[in-house]
Symmetry: C2
Subunit: 128 residues, 2 copies
Amino acid sequence: MIHITISEVSKKYGLSQDTLRYYEKVGAIPPVHRTKSGVRDYTEEDCGWVDLVKCMRGAGLSVEVMAEYVRLQLQGDETIPQRRQLLVDQRDQLTAQLQVIQDTMKRLNYKISRYDEAIKTGVLRWDE
Amino acid sequence: MIHITISEVSKKYGLSQDTLRYYEKVGAIPPVHRTKSGVRDYTEEDCGWVDLVKCMRGAGLSVEVMAEYVRLQLQGDETIPQRRQLLVDQRDQLTAQLQVIQDTMKRLNYKISRYDEAIKTGVLRWDE
DNA sequence: TTACTATATGGAGTACACTACAGGTCAAGA
DNA sequence: TCTTGACCTGTAGTGTACTCCATATAGTAA
């Protein structure tokens, strides 16, 4: 089993050491393995959690949601239905967010095309 | 020209009166038309700005970016190239965010499918 | 005129997600 | 042994985007 330090995890995932400690403190990842002297010594599994939380945070899931998922996970197999439901809820949120972003991009594209036209012709019609 | 009150704009767009005043204060929308006694009296154009900022904020653009766009707009036609560039930059950001969300959804879907399997068979393999 | 309601302003407070810092510990090299 | 560097904890501070509140004023109904 390979173990790596917090500075290596920080480099590997592009998250600051403070952020890694913060995620652990608020429970967005489970407690990380430590050396006898108390220094964090990330296992591959610990890294997997870091990777997961980085991905989910990037998409906009809250740290509280991640912490809830971790809590359920640590409670064992009887929480599998709740964990599934949590993920489904978050997926639904992302589906909605995807739609909002696509609609906004359409609007941005329309405005950009009008600016292109204005720049080309020197005229801006029906502004906003 | 139709004018409406802040409470009507609030209902129409689902933004609180405080939020509407806040957007105006920080410049995310231009100054709203007022009655002689100083009460906001939104024109259709004012409403158009509210609609725009609601849309952009929903997609994650910052109020500061909106305020910058409004500043440029109020400076007149010579800022058209900058405004176009601002919109293009934001569109690029959204394109990237779209990708992140899609990747995250793939990951969520994979995990959900594994939970479905676990619930069906009673076995969870290679858990996280 | 009085009372009520909607709106105004300025400023303080909240929630979230970090981020920075002070002070302490520990292992390894000179 | 001494020093250095990386790490630790706990706590305070920051930025963003609201949200709430106290106090004031204007327009309308009774």
